[in-house]
């Protein structure tokens, strides 16, 4: 057999048919959320049923409130938001789809829950109704987001038509410095290759830095592949992956585990496999990162300054920087660590896993929040674990709000949102104009950096804070 990348192997194994280079791929698992109402409406319009309902998983996450959850769905004051939560439950029940509903003890974000339960496994092809489906690639599977029409097609046929993307390997080697995390790695990658740098490509992250990362950290890296334009992001499964998966509810056990391992261990890219593009990063050179503008590519080390449009390589770039600074209300040359924030958000499918919560708590312990700071765990499972560890009490003692799980202030459609002009240090994935609320201003950071900003009231180098602490 020819030399193959991990992506090639998974792609080939899921190919059902081909028409002039467009391939029909079999989908193992599909992940949907309230926003999939458009897909269900299209199914209904064509009078179609979900073909393989047990391979579709539904999540109440985008529209659920992050407080007052004891009142259940009736506690959602806004009728339009409440209706989105109810509609997903109704559609899931009608089609026999497993719903992780608002009251489910395992409720959470669609990119947090499937890995926790072992629904996400190596070698799978997973399609999600959300661009951050790339998260699941951390397990050595192919996973990407699609729009409503393609999701409707997946639900109706358990398959999808695709052209084969190109491949990109990003190697990161060396040891990350103190205070430098997976979030900083992926922001540095996006700053280096650009928000469209991986368009049309599936990224495989490799190298000693990635190999040393936990599954939580790998998920953070793969999560933001889409912010570099990547079709998907993936990481070869290894001992860390298998240790994480063992004993999860949907993971194989006993003899089935051995059968699965026989498949999984053959997945990593062959040593001589060729990639269409290769990018190299030195982990030791990385610092905690923050974004200053309105695209994730607008990221710099925290010890840097807001860029000056007059220093841009050309007039187009200069105009882009000027427009971003205008929206962000920032002056060129301002030290990033001098930027005051009004709010702090720790959460989202990028950074709401137990390790993220622990990292933020370790910093929160050093002081008291000067601004409104929210911690929103990614799932009930993360929430319970954190509470068992006493992390919730660390946050509340430090003046942070410990809330209930959901997408919350990342996508800002459940009622949680910034007011116009408010500035937020956020562990989420997008600093687009208006993303966290109309007129809101977002600075993307790691969980530790977000907690540090909460304690000082401005963007802060967590390494300095920890030294003083």
């Amino acid at each position: 057999m020819s030399v193959q990348t991990m992506f090639d192997k998974i792609w080939a194994r899921h190919t059902v048919a081909e028409e002039e280079g467009e391939l029909l791929l079999y989908v193992d698992r599909a992940l949907i959320h309230e926003g999939s109402s458009h897909s269900f409406a299209a199914l209904a319009a064509q009078e179609r049923a979900v073909f393989r309902p047990r391979q579709v998983f539904a999540f109440n996450d985008h529209y659920v409130p992050t407080s007052g959850r004891e009142r259940g769905v009736q506690g959602i004051a806004n009728p339009e938001i409440r209706n989105m939560v109810i509609k997903l439950a109704a559609n899931s029940a009608e089609h026999g789809v497993r719903l992780f509903g608002i009251d489910d003890p395992q409720q959470g974000i669609l990119h947090i829950v499937p890995p926790e339960l072992g629904i996400t496994q190596p070698g799978l092809f997973i399609v999600g109704a959300d661009s951050h489906t790339s998260t699941h690639g951390a397990f050595g599977c192919l996973a990407f987001g699609v729009g409503a029409s393609e999701m409707m097609h997946v639900m109706a046929t358990q398959s999808i038509w695709q052209r084969k993307p190109k491949t990109m390997r990003i190697n990161i080697d060396g040891e990350l410095g103190f205070g430098v995390t997976a979030k900083d790695v992926i922001l540095a990658i996006i700053a280096k290759i650009g928000a469209g740098g991986a368009t049309g490509h599936v990224i495989e992250y490799a190298g000693s830095t990635i190999a040393a990362m936990s599954m939580e950290a790998r998920m953070t890296v793969c999560n933001m592949s889409i912010e570099a334009g990547g079709r998907a992001g993936m990481i070869a499964p290894d001992a860390t992956t298998y240790a994480y998966l063992a004993d999860r509810p949907y993971a194989p056990a006993g003899k089935a585990w051995d059968e699965a391992m026989a498949v999984w261990t053959r997945l990593p890219s062959d040593a001589a496999a060729k990639f269409d593009q290769t990018v190299q990063l030195d982990a030791a050179q990385l610092a905690p990162m923050v974004t200053w503008g309105t695209s994730p590519e607008h990221a710099l080390p925290i010890n840097g300054c807001v860029p000056d449009p007059r220093d841009a390589a050309n007039t187009t770039q200069g105009a882009e920087i000027r427009a971003a600074l205008d929206y962000m209300a920032l002056q060129p040359g301002t030290r990033l660590s001098d930027i005051a924030v009004d709010r702090v958000f720790i959460g989202s499918c990028t950074n709401s896993r137990i390790e993220d919560i622990r990292a933020a708590a370790a910093v929160a312990k050093l002081g008291r929040a000067k601004v409104t700071a929210w911690v929103v765990p990614g799932s009930r499972t993360v929430q319970r674990q954190a509470e068992q560890e006493g992390l919730d009490r660390i946050f509340t003692a430090a003046g942070f709000e410990w809330r209930d799980p959901g997408c919350s202030l990342c996508t800002a459609i459940n009622g949680d949102q910034l007011q116009p002009g408010e500035r937020c240090a956020s562990t989420s994935n997008r600093n687009f104009k208006g993303r966290q609320g109309t007129g809101g201003r977002t600075h993307l950071v790691s969980p530790a950096m977000a907690a540090a900003a909460a304690l000082t009231g401005h963007l802060t180098d967590v390494r300095e804070l920890a030294k003083k602490g």
Partner: protein, 205 residues
Amino acid sequence: MQPFTTITAIAAPIDEANVDTNQLCPTRFNKVPRGPQYAHVLFHDRRFNADGTEKEFLLNVEPFRSAAIIVANRNWGCGSSRESAVYALYEFGIRCVIAPSFGDIHANNCSKNGLLPVVLPEAEVASIRAQLRDRPGATVTVDLQEQTVTDPAGRVHRFEIHPVRKKCLLEGLDDVARTQEYRSRIEEFEAEYRAERPWLYAEKR
């Protein structure tokens, strides 16, 4: 889906790079059912103040209110997979976006809804945008059968498109109907795949 064959229409130049789908359709509008109301949603927060009055924005002024083509910059439609961004473009009247590159998911969403995404080299797209700024209201012709864009100066730019996508757009074909012809192939695939990976179909513990 409505077929796309050829159009000659007013084209609007949007110079901004990395226009994300949040700009095309702010998230709070995602829950709006598909329909004509999406015309108002396109670039909503860039087009309207909180009180509903209009802001200064290209698509708020004639002749660009009547545009059916947008000539954009790199990485158009990056970000969220929301198809509502396409509903907003379509209901506003846009049938084709020409750009040096697109967010992959958005480009797929366009072509599944009868809206043609055309990729041309950066310099060519920049030159078309410059012409449109110099002559507001100038028209561009997009011919899918011939795979050409004719700019206001009469220059013809050829573009690539996958033959299957081209056929689906030209004929307004529905993907699900096409896939149903593969139903038995899918079921054969499943039988063999399930035998190899039975644990994927076991009851959870």
